[in-house]
Symmetry: C2
Subunit: 315 residues, 2 copies
């Protein structure tokens, strides 16, 4: 399918070009990670930024109904309206599952959504965030300053580095939790879904530590998820699980996570030890939780039968 080059007003009243299938709309049609037969389109109000870093094309636009939308290499990553259901889940599924998480490593997630969410935990003493693409951070600081302010927290250390090398060089047993907040398994993110990285991540975790990686939708990429679960089973000897959440702006309206624990104190993912209490965090804080709660946490592990049969054939 051809995209035409059309002009869309940007924030300065000037015009900025954007490839569109429907003039004035952004459509998630990627040559890099294609999903045939279905398209989600979001109405553009203004294009705020378009640039090309060493690693990828980056665009931010103001949409009509989804707030600001972040696009990397022609694939929507996050929208302000529904990022809550992705980011609250990728953070609280692991962090609510172990007592007093202290040391957390985030791979990717340069926009800062994940970092901000991790910093809600008063038990967290140190967060290392490893983002390969500095432009992602710069763009976030300019266009999403409320999100990016997690970088100012003294507990956070930012590394502009290759996450793959960083994890391989980490001292064994360093982290309580590793969160891989990566884009789709292609390009610079491909390695995070492969055995050498998974093995390195399992070693960088303490016994009974938790690893989580975004792992696509079971409606679309079930074979890929099955393979990832198999690979994780080789290195994470506590448990390996698939959980999912509903994100409207992602194809199929869903995205999943593979969440694992290393051998050691057992982790009960279904019944989280930390109750991220509605009254304290969600209602009274400056930026309340929008999506996550303990019931949603447990529900994320209930898989449709078609997925359960493939991912857990022995159950």
């Amino acid at each position: 399918m051809e995209k035409e080059c059309v002009s869309v007003d940007n924030s300065n009243g000037k015009e900025m070009e954007c490839l569109s299938i429907i003039p004035g709309w952004y459509s998630d049609v990627s040559d890099v990670f294609p999903v045939p037969g279905e398209i989600i389109s979001i109405k553009i109000e203004k294009i705020l930024f378009k640039g090309k870093s060493k690693y990828q094309d980056i665009m931010i636009f103001q949409s009509l109904t989804y707030g600001k939308v972040i696009v990397l290499d022609g694939i929507m990553q996050h929208t302000e309206r529904d990022v809550c259901s992705y980011v609250e889940m990728i953070v609280h599924l692991p962090l609510a599952s172990i007592p007093n998480p202290e040391k957390v490593l985030i791979i990717g997630g340069g926009m800062g959504f994940t970092l901000r969410e991790v910093l809600r935990y008063s038990s967290v003493e140190k967060v290392d965030l490893v983002e390969i693409d500095e432009m992602v951070i710069d763009v976030s600081r300019k266009y999403l300053p409320e999100i990016a302010k997690g970088y100012e927290d003294p507990r956070a250390t930012l590394y502009i580095e290759d996450g793959n090398a960083f994890v391989k060089n980490a001292a064994p047993g360093t982290y309580d939790v590793i969160i891989v907040d990566s884009s789709d398994p292609c390009g610079v993110s491909k390695c995070f879904f492969e055995k050498p990285f998974l093995e390195a991540a399992s070693k960088a975790l303490r016994p009974g530590g938790v690893y989580i990686i975004q792992a696509e939708s079971a409606w679309i990429f079930l074979d890929f998820i099955k393979k990832l679960v198999e690979n994780c089973n080789k290195f994470f000897k506590g448990s390996v699980n698939y959980a999912w959440t509903n994100v409207p702006s992602y194809l199929s309206g869903a995205i999943g996570f593979v969440i694992c624990s290393t051998e050691g104190p057992p982790v009960d993912f279904i019944n989280p030890v930390n109750k991220v209490d509605l009254d304290i965090i969600s209602t009274n804080s400056e930026s309340p939780l929008k999506y996550y709660n303990s019931k949603v946490h447990a529900a994320a592990f209930a898989l449709p039968t078609f997925a359960e049969k493939v991912l857990y054939p022995k159950k």
Copy 2:
């Protein structure tokens, strides 16, 4: 946004016209029940049927990746690929929640998906299906014969009638379960979401009977759902709940249900009394369950915090 009239090959090798935003793709853009700012598009392979009944425009097309797709008045209703997550939930959420469901009323659902699912229960003795639009049934018999064969079951009785009048004329206490498998709350379906119908439905149920109605996505129509829950609370004195499921071809990837019980033997919706067992129904039957299982049942009642706060403000 303008749709252009483009031609798409139909099953006879002839061309049939279809309004498209993207040539060769069907896009869910409705003037009747509009959702601004977002569009889902599905690639058309062949248009199988286009017609206009007394009540609505009807189209069925063969898609590239979603199987056959049914469109009413310019809004996608079901696709063969993901109808499981809608129809298995709207049927098993109520039927698995009461012991030995015997008498079931279905309003709408003329395609027959819901009927076929209800007939899985050996306890069911009688199913009345009330569909106002005969053309929907005729089209289903022709293009979805496997689905429509539920109509041949001697336990099923079809009424080509107005569901609103049917329920108002039903003898009090007739049904164990009423399923309203309607299209969006506009046009002929609007009345099903309003007080007079809800009151009539509550009276047509036995004590401790169950009512379920499709009730839109909390991401998009939360105010509408809140109002519907309030209206249901007036007439269903057992309990009133919102549950949801992930349907890729619906905007936001989600649709919900309001599910209620009348005063009488209490119904525990979260812990269903009937275990629709994977080994028996899902694996061994001719058309196994694809989506529903007991864990998914319970998980459907776990609401995102943003929805829980609005729908259950006192909890």
